[in-house]
Subunit: 337 residues, 2 copies
């Protein structure tokens, strides 16, 4: 059977805030049958993961580091690859995560990063959110980088984001005191009501972040899980305790403007012996099995939940992506095809 | 015997660049005899350590952290304490390091941090430089925080400073490739000629630091030992390799102006999984014996040298201190009384 495969390409490099005109919907014929001697696999994409970090791959000067090839720049006119879950339609049948794309069907060569999803009692979407890369990022970042101890205080920014809402739950389950910040009353209510955060605040309604953190952490912050960078990172460092740890997971406030770069006070870093550490989930594959086992167990017993924000239809991917930078999403952003 | 003890106090908090008028020379009578029932010790100060970090204790808003009491603010009108080496003149006779002061004699109570210096074949001044706190800072910062591996590339800023010139030598002795930066041709020559650095540059003669680092480290930086902060830290992070480590020891370029704060690119920190870690020698007392043994051995066999810059006379302490921020000192700055 031949189908018309629709896919998005990058039309121009993103400069500042992304817009719909940066992307182009194209299509081409695709034969949905295994070809003689081909090692290719054709996947019908079911859920596409929509992630803020992708914007860094869409910039003219993108942070392409040899050691992190998924971070490489997306070339103009080429299909946009992305994490996702799909169903194999040609070749042996199994469902997949990473790397699919902003497209109906993905043709994956033998060198691709497809992995089979085990039979699971969880919704398929979980395998690209709480049990996928967002979950591993939260788990590895929190346990491997932040090295929490029971009773420590934890601050999570973008706490309703794909990773943040999971970090806060892991932190509560580890006996920590957890405060999150987010950009709307609805999100703050969700954090305190549904997700069990000890406290939360709407950063848009605070006159200054430094005072908000002083109020929420009268005895200081031991761990800061940073998803936003900028002035939030500066204020967190200013309110940190001795031997505090900052896991730098993302810097979404800096992605659309290079003028918002964080300048944390190095005197605080020295005198309080603070460690600021960048990380990628990718490097922590050694804890993957443990992560799946622990997290599945939490989910099964209702001790943790996955918040997902699902849009529908391939055509909605660019607008879903753009909305991330306005903070419209609540939880993990996915597009169901 | 009664003497007139001269000492310096802080007359006004330092704001920006320090000046002589920030300090006041005072004096008062002191009885040089052990008093009945007193647990006090009187020390004749011989060498006073002159250190850039002291400026942070002289500011109105100083980084006073409970866990680091030597970092506490120096109160107006009170004697200025400092590291040093002296001779006990009343009570049982031994020589001392820390905490003495900007004064002829120090009266140390039972809670003071005096330690006896063992009989030594080294000059007395070494016990406040290469075998004192500067040495421990270099040793612990390099081995405990930077965790070097043979063959790695190391960048040291303020490489002719009290700590920097020792870090570079430890790094060479560990089989690393070492580049230092300093602020004069004389210092660059010393680094390359006397101290065995593989390369060195005068940052004042570089149009931009980023290009200088690209030239000196065509394959990137694995370890950055930061003594200066500001744009040097930004450029080092930009030129760092994956899994690079930054030991934040000082930020002298930021001490006299809060507008020069470093804003390293957090995307580099994330994608290159960089660790930026502040530290104080104070926390690494567990390696003190090892440090003394290893360093004494290097000194004894001529594999390492201590560069000291010694002024004379109590009255010269403020000007020696101020000159640190113009970069006048070559090696560890001491005043001999």
């Amino acid at each position: 059977m031949e189908v018309e495969n629709k896919y998005f390409t990058l039309k121009q490099y993103v400069d500042g805030f992304p817009s719909e005109s940066d992307f182009e919907l194209r299509s081409g014929p695709l034969l949905l049958a295994p070809q003689e001697g081909s090692k290719k696999v054709i996947v019908k994409n079911l859920f596409v993961s929509v992630d803020p970090y992708q914007i860094n791959r869409m910039k003219k000067r993108s942070p392409s580091h040899k050691s992190a090839n998924f971070a490489q720049r997306i070339d103009l006119g080429k299909r946009i690859d992305a994490m996702g879950v799909g169903r194999v339609v040609a070749a042996c049948g199994y469902a997949e995560e990473e790397l699919l794309g902003w497209e109906d069907y993905t043709v994956a060569g033998p060198g691709s990063m497809l992995t089979k999803i085990p039979t699971s009692q969880f919704p398929l979407s979980y395998h690209v959110s709480v049990l996928g890369s967002s979950g591993l990022t939260a788990y590895a970042g929190f346990y491997q980088i932040c090295k929490p101890r029971r009773g420590e205080t934890v601050f999570v920014s973008a706490a309703c984001g794909s990773v943040g809402h999971l970090v806060g739950q892991f932190a509560k389950l580890s006996g920590c005191y957890v405060v999150g910040c987010a950009g709307s009353k609805k999100k703050v209510d969700l954090l305190k009501g549904e997700l069990g955060f000890d406290d939360a605040f709407n950063y848009k309604e605070e006159r200054d972040i430094n005072s908000a953190l002083k109020r929420c952490f009268p005895s200081g912050i031991d761990i800061y899980f940073d998803n936003v960078g900028g002035e939030m990172l500066e204020a967190a460092v200013a309110n940190m305790n001795a031997f505090g740890r900052v896991a730098v997971c993302g810097a979404i406030s800096e992605y659309t403007s290079s003028e918002r770069r964080a300048a944390p006070d190095m005197l605080d870093v020295i005198y309080k012996r603070i460690t600021v550490q960048g990380f990628l989930a990718y490097d922590h594959i050694a804890v993957h099995d443990e992560f799946i086992s622990v997290t599945s167990d939490y989910l099964r017993h209702g001790r943790m939940q996955s918040i997902e924000d699902i849009s529908h239809g391939l055509e909605s991917i660019p607008s879903a992506f753009i909305a991330l930078f306005r903070g419209d999403n609540v939880g993990k952003k996915l597009v169901q095809l």
